[in-house]
C-alpha cells in the first residue's frame, strides 16, 4: 500500500523544479537558521510557531481544523456545511451531518465553494472606475472609497434636504442574517429610497396570506407520511435536492407522486405520473379539480364547516362557472385524468401539494396559488402531518435583525407618502406611524423607477448582494436608467455586468470569511456560519462596510450616521439571537450551534395544526376581504393569463449549476455546463429547420440573445426553455435580456411590491 494518494501528488521537486530533491529540501529545513529580516517591502521576521508542511490530496480528517458554515444562497435547502481548513487555507467542504435534512451532503454548487474563495478573479481591493464602462480602474484605499461615498451622501442631503436621492437595491446574494446590515446602514443614514419587494415569490406569499393569514409550510421531512404528493410547478431535483429523499421514501411506502409542470423535469421523471400543463392554466386546472370534488362529494365537509370562511360562496362559484371539461381545455390535461387523480387524491389522507415558485411567476400567479390552496383545503389536508399546501415559511426567521434595526439620525427628513413592508423579511416597518419613512420603489422595475423618480431624483445607487444587470428585468432599460445616476457603488465578490457599470466597487468577503447565522424558508434547521479563514485581500463583510462608512461620514459631519462605528462581526452575529430563537430551537446559547445545525422544536410538523389561522376571521378564507382591499377578487376565482406577445412561450427557470448569477462563472461548473442552450421540441426544430447544436437567435420586444439549441422532447412544441445563468466574463448570455418587467398580480400586501411575470414571456426563434 502506498503512503499517499489523491490528486496533486506534486512533490516539491516537480512544482519548484529544483535540483534539490524533496528529501534534501526537508533536510535543509532543519539545517538552515533564520536570517535577519530587513525592513523591506514585505516579508517580516517569522515568530515562533509550528512549521508549515505542504499538503497533498486528502490527508485524513485529523489533519484539518473543521468549522461550521452555512450556505447563504437563496435556496430551499440552505445547507449546513463543514469547512476543512489547514494552515489557514480552506481545503474542501462537506455537508453538516448534524442535519437530518441535508445529511452531510451539499449540491453541485456547494461543492464548488473553494473555487470561488480562491479564484484569482475575486475582487480584492476597493477600486474606482475612471469613466463608467471604460475598464479604466484604479485601486483606492478603503478610506478614499468611503470618503467619496460619504461626501456624495452629504452632498445629496445638502442639496435635497433629505437622503431620498440615495437608492439602495439588494436581494438574495447572501441571506445570512447579519447581511441585513446593508438595510441597517441605509436606515442609520436617514430615510432613503429602497427598492423593495422580491422578484422571487411575492404573488404566492400574498395568496397564502389571504387564504391562511401567513405563508407557513409543513416541515418537508414529514412528506414521508404523505400518501399522495402533487409537485406543482416545483423542480426539487435541481432546486431542493435534499427534499427528494422524502418524496422517494413516501413513494416507497406506497404514495403516488404526480408532477404538474410545463417541462418534463427531472423531478417529473421520478414521479408516477407527469402532466404537461399549459403555463398559466394552473388555476383553471385546480378549479376544475375542485369542481370535481364537489361533483363526487369528496370534499371534507366537516373540516370545511368548522374552518372554511366563505366556502359555500366558493362552492357555488365552482358550480356556476367551472367545469372539468373547461379546465381540461384550458390546461391541456384530459378530463379523464383530472377526474381520476382528483378522486385518488381525495381518497387518501394525508395528501399534499407542493406549490413551486415557478407557477406564481405569472400575471395571474397569485390567483392560481389561491386556487390550488383551495383545492388542498377542500380535501381537508391543511393542518395535517404529511398534508398541507406547501409553499414556504418564515417561521424560523425571528432574529433581532440587530444590524438592520437602526434609527435615522436626529432631524432626518424622509418620505411622507404611504409605504408598505420593505420586502418579505420585513416584519415591523410597514404601516407604522412614523412621521417619515423611506421611499419605496418596486425592486422589479428598477429601470422604470429610476427613470421616473422625481423630487428628488435618485442620483446615487448602492448595490449589495445583487447583480442588477444580470438578474433584474429589461436589461436594456436598466442601462438607460443608470445613465441618470451620478454615483453607483457596488459591493461584490466578482466582476459582473453590474460592477462593469459601477463607479466604485467594494470587495466583499465570502461566507467562509465572515460570521453569521442562517435559516431556511423551507426546512426548519438553523446553522451558524463561523469565520473559517481570514478575509482575503482587503475584503470586508457588509456590516464591516456599514460600520466603516459610519465612522467616515461622522468624521466628516458628526451625527450623520447611527450605525455602530466599531463592530466585531462575531459580536454582531451573537446579537442576532434572542430567547424566542433559543426556545424555538431548544438551545441554551448560540454556541450550541458550533456542534452542528439545530432544528426548531415544532409542536407539530404540520403548519396550522391547531386550525387557528392568521386571517381576520381566524379561519381558512376562501373569501378574503384583505385580498379585495389590495385590488384582487375576494373570492378564490379564475383569472385570465397574460396574452401572448410573440409566437412561442419562453420559460427561463433556474439552472441546477448556478444560483441566479452565482456559481456558473466558476471553472469547475463550466466542466459540467460549458455553455447555455435553448431547449426546443423536435417538432419546432423541424419547423425551423434546426438540429442539435445550431446557433439560434431568440428575440422579442425586450431584446435578443444568441445561443445553441438542444432538441429535446422535455419541452412542449410551443415553448422555448432557457436556463437562467451568468456565465462570466466572456459570455454575454443572459435570459433576462428577454424578460420584461410585467408584474405578477400579487405581492404588494406582504412584500411591498408585486412580483414579476417571469414565465409569462414570449419570443421568436430563428436560425442565426
Amino acid at each position: 500500500m502506498q503512503e499517499k494518494h489523491g490528486s496533486g501528488n506534486k512533490n516539491i521537486q516537480q512544482t519548484l523544479g529544483n535540483k534539490v530533491s524533496r528529501r534534501d529540501f526537508l533536510k535543509m529545513m532543519t539545517a538552515v537558521g533564520a536570517i535577519a529580516a530587513l525592513p523591506g517591502n514585505g516579508l517580516l521576521r517569522r515568530g515562533p510557531g509550528a512549521s508549515v508542511m505542504p499538503s497533498t490530496g486528502y490527508e485524513g480528517k485529523d489533519a484539518y481544523q473543521v468549522f461550521h458554515n452555512a450556505c447563504p444562497r437563496n435556496c430551499y435547502d440552505t445547507c449546513g456545511m463543514l469547512s476543512y481548513v489547514k494552515d489557514g487555507v480552506l481545503k474542501f467542504v462537506e455537508g453538516d451531518p448534524a442535519s437530518t435534512f441535508t445529511r452531510g451532503g451539499l449540491c453541485v454548487k456547494g461543492y464548488s465553494y473553494p473555487r470561488s474563495v480562491y479564484s484569482p478573479d475575486r475582487i480584492k481591493y476597493p477600486m474606482k472606475q475612471e469613466g463608467r464602462g471604460t475598464g479604466n480602474w484604479v485601486r483606492i484605499s478603503w478610506d478614499e472609497a468611503l470618503d467619496t461615498i460619504a461626501k456624495k451622501i452629504l452632498e445629496l442631503k445638502e442639496q435635497d434636504g433629505s437622503l431620498l436621492g440615495l437608492g439602495m437595491t439588494k436581494y438574495s446574494g447572501n441571506f445570512g442574517i447579519t447581511h441585513y446590515g446593508v438595510e441597517g446602514m441605509m436606515s442609520s443614514l436617514g430615510y432613503t429610497t429602497r427598492f423593495v419587494g422580491t422578484p422571487c415569490w411575492p404573488a404566492g406569499i400574498d395568496a397564502q396570506n389571504f387564504d391562511m393569514g401567513n405563508m407557513w409550510c409543513n416541515d418537508p421531512e414529514d412528506m414521508v407520511h404523505s400518501k399522495y404528493i402533487i409537485i406543482w410547478g416545483a423542480n426539487p431535483s435541481i432546486n431542493s435536492i435534499h427534499s427528494m429523499k422524502y418524496i422517494n421514501e413516501a413513494k416507497r411506502r406506497g404514495a403516488k407522486v404526480l408532477v404538474i409542470d410545463p417541462i418534463f423535469t427531472q423531478t417529473a421523471a421520478k414521479a408516477n405520473e407527469y402532466w404537461q400543463i399549459k403555463p398559466g392554466a394552473d388555476g383553471a386546472l385546480a378549479l376544475g379539480m375542485a369542481r370535481h370534488l364537489l361533483d363526487k362529494k369528496l370534499e371534507d365537509k366537516a373540516w370545511l364547516e368548522e374552518n372554511g370562511e366563505g366556502y359555500s360562496e366558493f362552492a357555488s362559484y365552482l358550480r356556476r362557472e367551472i367545469t372539468v371539461d373547461w379546465a381540461a381545455e384550458q390546461s391541456g390535461i384530459p378530463a379523464e385524468r383530472i377526474k381520476q387523480i382528483t378522486e385518488e387524491f381525495a381518497s387518501v389522507k394525508p395528501a399534499t401539494i407542493w406549490l413551486g415558485y415557478g407557477l406564481q411567476r405569472h400575471t395571474n400567479g397569485g390567483a392560481m396559488v389561491r386556487a390550488i390552496d383551495a383545492f388542498v383545503a377542500m380535501t381537508g389536508n391543511i393542518g395535517k402531518v404529511g398534508g398541507g399546501a406547501r409553499y414556504g415559511h418564515l417561521f424560523t426567521w425571528g432574529f433581532n435583525y440587530n444590524a438592520l434595526v437602526q434609527s435615522a439620525p436626529e432631524g432626518s427628513i424622509g418620505y411622507t407618502g404611504v409605504t408598505g413592508p420593505m420586502g418579505e423579511f420585513d416584519t415591523g416597518q410597514g404601516g407604522n406611524a412614523a412621521t417619515y419613512t423611506d421611499r419605496a420603489f418596486n425592486i422589479n422595475k428598477i429601470a422604470q423607477e429610476i427613470l421616473d423618480a422625481k423630487e428628488p431624483p435618485v442620483r446615487m445607487l448602492y448595490v449589495a448582494n445583487k447583480n442588477v444587470l444580470s438578474q433584474d428585468f429589461d436589461r436594456n432599460k436598466i442601462i438607460e436608467a443608470f445613465k441618470k445616476l451620478d454615483l453607483i457603488v457596488v459591493a461584490d465578490l466578482f466582476f459582473n455586468p453590474t460592477v462593469e457599470q459601477a463607479d466604485i466597487v467594494l470587495p466583499t468577503t465570502t461566507l467562509f470569511e465572515d460570521w453569521t447565522v442562517n435559516v431556511s424558508y423551507w426546512h426548519y434547521w438553523m446553522s451558524i456560519n463561523e469565520q473559517a479563514i481570514a478575509p482575503m485581500y482587503e475584503t470586508k463583510s457588509d456590516i464591516e462596510i456599514a460600520s466603516a462608512l459610519s465612522a467616515k461620514i461622522n468624521s466628516l459631519k458628526a451625527g450623520s450616521c447611527t450605525f455602530p462605528e466599531n463592530i466585531d462581526p462575531k459580536e454582531m452575529m451573537i446579537k442576532e439571537f434572542n430567547d424566542g430563537i433559543y426556545s424555538l430551537f431548544g438551545i441554551n446559547s448560540w454556541e450550541d450551534l458550533k456542534n452542528g445545525a439545530h432544528k426548531a422544536k415544532l409542536v407539530s410538523s404540520a403548519s396550522w395544526s391547531d386550525n387557528k389561522f392568521g386571517t381576520p376571521s381566524g379561519k381558512y378564507e376562501f373569501k378574503s376581504a384583505i385580498a379585495e382591499e389590495y385590488g384582487h377578487s375576494a373570492l378564490v376565482k379564475y383569472k385570465e393569463p397574460r396574452e401572448a406577445y410573440a409566437s412561442y412561450r419562453l420559460l427561463t427557470p433556474h439552472s441546477m449549476y448556478g444560483l441566479h448569477s452565482q456559481f456558473q462563472n466558476l471553472d469547475w461548473m463550466l466542466d459540467y455546463n460549458p455553455e447555455p442552450l435553448a431547449y426546443i421540441h423536435p417538432k419546432l426544430a423541424r419547423e425551423k429547420g434546426l438540429v442539435d447544436g445550431d446557433t439560434v437567435r431568440v428575440y422579442n420586444k425586450t431584446g435578443e440573445v444568441q445561443l445553441k439549441v438542444s432538441v429535446n422532447d422535455i419541452v412542449p412544441a410551443d415553448t422555448i426553455l432557457m436556463y437562467e445563468a451568468w456565465y462570466g466574463q466572456n459570455n454575454p448570455f443572459n435570459v433576462n435580456i428577454l424578460v420584461d418587467d410585467e408584474s405578477s398580480d400579487m405581492g404588494k400586501y406582504k412584500t411591498g411590491a408585486p412580483g414579476v411575470a417571469i414565465h409569462d414571456q414570449f419570443a421568436e426563434i430563428e436560425k442565426a
Binding site: A31, A37, L38, N41, Y118, V505, Y537
Partner: protein, 179 residues
C-alpha cells in the same frame, strides 16, 4: 548595495505598488540602473497594471506563482503556494499578509530574494547560497511564463513590458552567476 540587489528591491516595489505614484517611484529608481523608456502618462500604466495584476475584472496575468506551476490557472493558495510559505519559514520569514495575499505573489518572492541577497553580503553562508539558488530556480520556472502571458496581451503599456523584460533579464543573469 550592488545594482543587482537594488534592482531586485525596486522590482519588488513596482509589483507591490498600489497606485501610479508607487509605480513611478520604483520605475524611476530602476531607470537609474537600467535605461528605460520614458513614460508620459502614468495613469495608463496604472490601468494596464490593474487589468493584468489587480482587478476588479478577471486578471489577465495573475502575479502568483502557483497559477503557472500548479496546472490550475484558476486557483490561488494552491500547493506550491504553501511550499513557498514553507520556504520563507526556513528563512525565518513570514508574510505580513499571511492567508490574505497568496505567499507566492511576485513582489513577495522578489522581496525574499532581496532579503537573501542582502544577508549574503554579511555572511557567506553556503546554506543561504543554496536557498538563493533554489529561489532563483523557482522564479525561473514561472516568471518566463508569467512574462509571456503579459506580453501576449494587447494594449498593455510599454512600461510594463519593460519591467517584465527587466525582471526576466535580472533573474537570468543572477541564475547564470549562481551556476
Amino acid at each position: 548595495m550592488s545594482d543587482f540587489i537594488q534592482s531586485i528591491q525596486q522590482l519588488s516595489a513596482f509589483f507591490f505598488a498600489s497606485d501610479a505614484k508607487g509605480m513611478k517611484t520604483a520605475y524611476s529608481e530602476l531607470a537609474k540602473i537600467h535605461p528605460a523608456p520614458a513614460v508620459d502618462d502614468w495613469s495608463s500604466v496604472e490601468f494596464s497594471f490593474n487589468r493584468l495584476f489587480v482587478g476588479p475584472r478577471a486578471l489577465l496575468a495573475p502575479p502568483y506563482a502557483s497559477i503557472y506551476l500548479d496546472n490550475d490557472p484558476n486557483r490561488v493558495m494552491n500547493e506550491s503556494t504553501m511550499q513557498i510559505r514553507q520556504f520563507y519559514g526556513l528563512l525565518g520569514l513570514v508574510s505580513p499578509w499571511l492567508n490574505k495575499i497568496p505567499d507566492d505573489h511576485i513582489a513577495l518572492e522578489l522581496d525574499a530574494l532581496w532579503q537573501i541577497e542582502t544577508a549574503l553580503i554579511n555572511s557567506a553562508s553556503p546554506q543561504l547560497s543554496d536557498m538563493r539558488e533554489y529561489l532563483l530556480e523557482h522564479l525561473q520556472l514561472w516568471v518566463p511564463k508569467f512574462r509571456q502571458r503579459v506580453l501576449s496581451i494587447d494594449d498593455i503599456h510599454p512600461a510594463i513590458h519593460h519591467i517584465m523584460d527587466l525582471l526576466q533579464q535580472t533573474l537570468t543573469t543572477a541564475l547564470q552567476d549562481a551556476e
